[in-house]
Symmetry: C2
Subunit: 395 residues, 2 copies
């Protein structure tokens, strides 16, 4: 049964570009063609003024809401996208596209390399968050949208939001970066690299050429994912969720089996991930995050936001998120304030760690919903004033 | 050149017991024989009242201070053990032994299984922190020491300190648990398990039977160690130590080479570790830590310390240690205070994360040195009073 507040059955779509003229990447490499998988929810209005782009995190996909035909699990942000939800599809046209380099239908290392007729593997060029966003710009162009009403996302999704605000400011009215950073820290790079090293260490990885082999580097990818899962939680949320409880046993077994619930959770999620994600894509997407640094090239975050003063920002961090601690968001807020942007900032009290941006549904619904509602009313008021010809200079 | 404040050239020693009567482990398994590798620094006095036992952490060894013949690198706690240092060898007889299950000369999975004549591998029984400490008790007995003047250690070393205090209180006058916990948290278990999974995932691990094979599970062990190294640092210390600096290059390479200094650090330390540590020992020692829980069997930490009231405690935590956060030490202090023990507690301001207990040398020297000095003076005063027959009841 599909709940009433869901967007219901959705159909994935694709948009392919750069067939003739290649898409140039930040590295200078060329890519041709480029396909983006995407989904949309709600209706684009006649003025094309109600579009919201949702940007997904590391392991996410374009399937942000609703149900695919025959599937029982909804999209990854079902809690926040739908009629009456934070991103209200009664009012907004919501778009989510799978990032360049990922493995959910967008061009990445699993795609066929036109030069060889085989999957790219490591022949796929290294991409950046900037490349991901410039591909999204192409999609928005194609959908006939001059300016997004809002671009929103958490974690790596938040980096894309900041990239839009910094480098395509005229295309964005409002931006909601959640649980993210303007500059990937050395700790984040270290955690990425450990995941990559786990994949490299798997002999089935075969330097990325495993697509025609009977086995994939699942063991390495599972270890990488387990590291990730630890970082998405917090000390406190692990205490609440698992404590030192044992899984299906009452006493220590004094053996190397999965004994503690937290071990079972990690193993389950690690293995599960290998059924839905590609090891090479994990390398490319984490590398793109590591390169993300909006203090370049000017040396300050504010330097990247000099043209972003007209964007309305809602910046959100979570108190127990040790992966993207609050100070990252505060640095962002300082930089945005310095350039004169209108910034609302909230550091939400939560014990759920980095995962909070997906789990604190009530808070997010209220916060994002009222931010978008207020902006929408202001915009429409402005429009009405303009249309009625009563907009006049104020002394 | 050996510095003047070093204990100088030291010779590793071993003590073997349980040749006839097997050593019974907490699991109920029997081990025979058991060898402990150990080193000593300074001289045991005639009353055998000046002995300090140092307990090492996960990857440590009995080589805590001084230099092995022909080697240029001193023991792991050289900064704190020696003449005039925190553990002053002019006054104290300092002992450090390699824990049961480890691979620096004490009995563990690398040792020969007398039943097969081959290394134990996974046939070695799973051990606990309690087992490690009961083996240390045998060594102390052998050395003719009724009561240790002090037992001290950080991280897993601190767990051994607490185990001594809880289960062998009459053998300990003072205890210094540093950067540790009375109860391994689910986050710590999760981090242990990821390291173990990285080892299991290495096909060269061969279910632990790799000792006669040409290759060892170095790749898996290196990944486990890299995870460890991230947790020993802090967000702040990584910013200071590495920032986003690149290693031997000026621009991003847009390739999957080691580019950032923090990546290079992890890789170097991960690979280095495989030359000095055994993968199976990593499994056994981390498992022992995961089992550590002094709230068992009574349900409270205080329940384990009911006989520890006469021990003088110096409990130390570090503000940026997110692996063993301060609240673990505070819980310990509450429990020890509840049973009436004399506790000094310090939460030291440091940005070095968990590694701080090894790096904050000046602070540690002053703090530990003065704690031990004060106790030593008190003890000797008591002794003098007793000897002179002037000890009398005070109203």
């Amino acid at each position: 049964m599909i709940p009433e507040d869901s967007v219901g059955i959705v159909k994935p779509q694709t948009y392919t570009f750069a067939q003739n003229e290649p898409f140039m990447l930040e590295s200078g490499a060329m890519l041709s063609p480029v396909t983006l998988a995407y989904e949309t929810y709600g209706e684009l209005n006649a003025a094309a003024s109600n579009a919201i782009l949702i940007c997904h995190a590391l392991s996410g996909s374009d399937h942000a809401a609703g149900y695919h035909e025959g599937e029982e699990k909804p999209g990854w942000w079902e809690d926040c996208i739908g009629p009456g939800k934070a991103f209200d599809t009664n009012r907004f046209f919501v778009i989510c596209s799978n990032v360049l380099g990922s493995c959910y239908g967008s061009t990445g290392p699993t795609a066929l390399n036109p030069e060889t007729g085989k999957p790219y593997g490591l022949r796929f060029p290294v991409i950046t968050i900037g490349d991901m966003v410039r591909a999204q710009v192409k999609l928005i162009d194609r959908l006939g949208i001059d300016q997004l009403f809002c671009v929103a996302g958490g974690s790596m999704g938040g980096m894309q939001v900041l990239e839009w605000a910094a480098h395509h400011p005229e295309r964005v009215k409002a931006a909601i970066p959640l649980a993210t950073t303007g500059r990937h820290s050395p700790m984040l790079i270290a955690l990425s690299e450990v995941g990559r090293q786990a994949i490299y260490a798997d002999p089935k990885w075969q330097a990325g050429d495993y697509y025609d082999k009977p086995q994939k580097p699942d063991d390495g990818l599972a270890v990488a994912r387990m590291v990730g899962h630890i970082t998405y939680l917090s000390d406190e949320s692990m205490q609440m969720k698992f404590g030192r409880r044992l899984q299906n046993r009452e006493k220590y077994g004094f053996e190397f089996q999965t004994e503690f619930q937290v071990e079972s959770y990690l193993k389950y999620n690690g293995n599960n991930f290998t059924r839905r994600f590609d090891a090479n894509s994990y390398l490319y997407v984490t590398k793109a995050m590591d390169y993300f640094d909006l203090t370049e090239p000017t040396g300050t975050l504010a330097g990247s936001f000099v043209h972003s003063a007209d964007i309305k920002f809602l910046v959100v961090s979570f108190t127990s998120d040790w992966l993207y601690p609050t100070y990252h968001s505060k640095d962002m807020v300082k930089a945005l304030t310095a350039v004169g942007a209108d910034v609302t900032f909230l550091d939400i009290e939560s014990s759920w760690g980095h995962d909070a941006f997906l789990l604190e549904v009530d808070t997010m619904t209220q916060l994002l919903g009222s931010f978008l509602e207020r902006l929408w009313q202001e915009e429409n008021e402005d429009q009405r004033l303009k249309i009625n010809g009563v907009a006049r200079e104020q002394s």
